[in-house]
Symmetry: D2
């Protein structure tokens, strides 16, 4: 695993599945957000403080996801997360969900926004510095 990639494990519960017997398509986006959140935490970023002290939150601006094979109840999945592009206001993540094989892959673009107006703003400096330490994919 390269240093610029973060891996987070996710167990599939009944809540995640649907009547077709597989994980419901929107729920893969939940798994992907959990992995992004945990990576930010590992890097030392506290999103509650970011909102309460800097008045900003991260919002998803764009998401693309391809579903290759279905995940099923009780599967243990790995979410692999890297950063594809970083600018002053945006982070573009590249993510994969893997079991014995690749199940889904996505690109998700996050934008830093004012917590009240949801207008884009610059990522706070101390957070940008944390992100810049990572070597991009």
């Amino acid at each position: 695993m390269p240093e610029n990639e973060f891996v987070w494990g996710v167990r599939v519960y009944y809540e995640d599945t649907d009547a077709a017997g597989v994980v419901y398509y929107a729920n893969y986006l939940k798994f992907m957000e959990r992995a992004r959140t945990e990576w930010l935490r590992v890097l030392g970023m506290d999103q509650t403080t970011m909102r309460d002290e800097c008045g900003v939150v991260f919002a998803v601006r764009q998401a693309e996801i391809s579903y290759l094979k279905p995940a099923r109840f009780d599967d243990y999945l790995q979410v692999r997360t890297g950063i594809k592009r970083l600018t002053a206001a945006r982070i573009r993540f590249s993510q994969q969900i893997v079991r014995d094989c690749l199940l889904a892959k996505s690109e998700v673009e996050i934008v830093c926004v004012n917590a009240m107006t949801f207008k884009p703003v610059k990522i706070p400096d101390h957070i940008l510095q944390l992100l810049e330490k990572i070597t991009w994919i």
Copy 2:
């Protein structure tokens, strides 16, 4: 249908079901909240205004639910809602989910709380008056 009962229709989509082929147990509580919300709207209550102008929100304090028969994908359900008890800070709803037969029944107790601290407060007078117009079950 008695005058003190409100009926709201809900369609079951894939998002609501799980790999056992039926509606996931926690999701019946979503259906029940949709019905309570729509009843409050019909009575003339605007929950956004209530929060922004009175600084209060309704929070669930207690819920009891019995699952009798499963709802399935594509079912069209009726949620029947009545008020069982009303006090200065609390509303206790009695609710049923019905298809061709009774599928689930619940009692849900809502408490009016300060939107920041979540401490119980009195229901604003103009809202209490709207609720008191209903004849209880």
Copy 3:
């Protein structure tokens, strides 16, 4: 509204929102699926019969979604749905979520799969004929 477009209304409930005060990003995909499901129903397609008698289900193969402005609690949204491309096994939908302005837009590609193996199969003829009646966008 052109004839080849279907519009479905969706109310935003607490279940759909998150602590940032807006609709959670994955939940827009639920709204979009509800609209696709209702359109298929209006066209005369019964997905339960399709699964039980033809042994096939529709699965999402790919989704792209852009989030332009946030939807909030109690908003009443319109989901506009059109078909962008139709082949023997796939349907590519173009969808928009609109309030007073455009909030989100997506392209979602659905593939017809064997309900057990999730391998792609041809869309059953009588369903393909229903879909072909629509004039594409």
Copy 4:
């Protein structure tokens, strides 16, 4: 911690919260099911095998939950789970969600049902024996 109690950790993500800034009331039931599922796994029970080989699944028959204090984004919660009553077809769990203090407590009754008809059936013997090893609360 007594031997007959199982503790499972749960992190609160944006997906779990609502616009009131706290965990949405139905989602506590998801956390509680995750904990029950993990306990059954630790005891050596495989729910997929149970369904595929014995043709039975566990369904929730009744749930009671009291909400004492709200959980918020990024909280790390502990779900404490015990068995309150065990019969040939039913398991009644007692569960608590704890942070620095008790946030919610529930009793959830699970019934073993035929996976197709959802009619109650006896819990398979080898599973009942696993459950009987636990000393009840």
